[in-house]
Symmetry: C2
Subunit: 196 residues, 2 copies
Amino acid sequence: MTDRRTALLNAAVEQIAARGTRGLRVEDVAQSAGASTALIYHHFGDRSAFLRAALEHIGDRADAYTEPPDGEARVMLLGLLTDEIQDNPEVRTNSAAWGELRDTAVFDAELRPTIARLTRRWVDDIAELIRFGHSDGSIDARVDPLSTGIALSALVEGISGRWLTDQMSTAEGRDTLRTGASALLNAAQTAQVPSQ
Amino acid sequence: MTDRRTALLNAAVEQIAARGTRGLRVEDVAQSAGASTALIYHHFGDRSAFLRAALEHIGDRADAYTEPPDGEARVMLLGLLTDEIQDNPEVRTNSAAWGELRDTAVFDAELRPTIARLTRRWVDDIAELIRFGHSDGSIDARVDPLSTGIALSALVEGISGRWLTDQMSTAEGRDTLRTGASALLNAAQTAQVPSQ
């Protein structure tokens, strides 16, 4: 039962990444997962609830492929961030579907609470690693976990948009992200420098 | 003649921001600009060429509302960046339409060269201000103009996505952007600190 549900959600993510949210037809998703449209409505309710479930599923998929190896918090965090850009079809699909649903939320207010909650979960994961970095000494104690987490995740989203539209190769995207993220994590060391 | 063309492009940007690219109907744009569909095809060619012209127009509009006052290059640059987020309906509309067209370019390869060229123009404007900052002493000479320009513009796009989906107020968006951008501009001062 759980496998069937996962298969339907994977099919939805694939279709959103390939054709966008507004081109998504529930019947096509059902067909590509070898299921009936009725089963989708049975599991998820209406189309809007199915989109929200797909968004949650994107978050869960990203948790799986951005799991950093144990180590110094700073290294783990840079790994977590750069792993959002990988030469891996699943990562590209997931990133495209996430960007598309976030963009759809500009027009569709029903998606906004889900986007906001998942983004907040992501920011909290980053903030936790920054706090861990305060403890193990790999991140300066003056680096604010929450506001830096927001800036780092926004930088990932901005660079992913360039990568997904072929303005950057995977290697360039990862390098730009690593350099930019390192700068944001070093910011506290220059906090005394007047910024205006 | 030029005014009619501008009116058509403004109407297209409004519709893209309100309903997305894929919901855009050329007839509706013509009607809202008090023109005929034939006039749109006369001025722009096909629908795809009209979308590319709308994208160019978004770039031109942004040039107008992000014109910084004369001053120190660092202050000008922070002004240029933060003015992408303003409590002003035209700025919000423009930003939503830009994000939507960039997202559409993930699926529609025809839009990619225009997105890439306009993004590059924006990055070049930022890089030019960084070089000016090297001259007037307001930006450290070790801050690389091009790679920092790419990271700064990506940060703007990421934070704009949060702002447009109501995850941040205008003030929060501007503050996050100013703090993040300042950190990226201070990065060179910590270049000696091991980043791994």
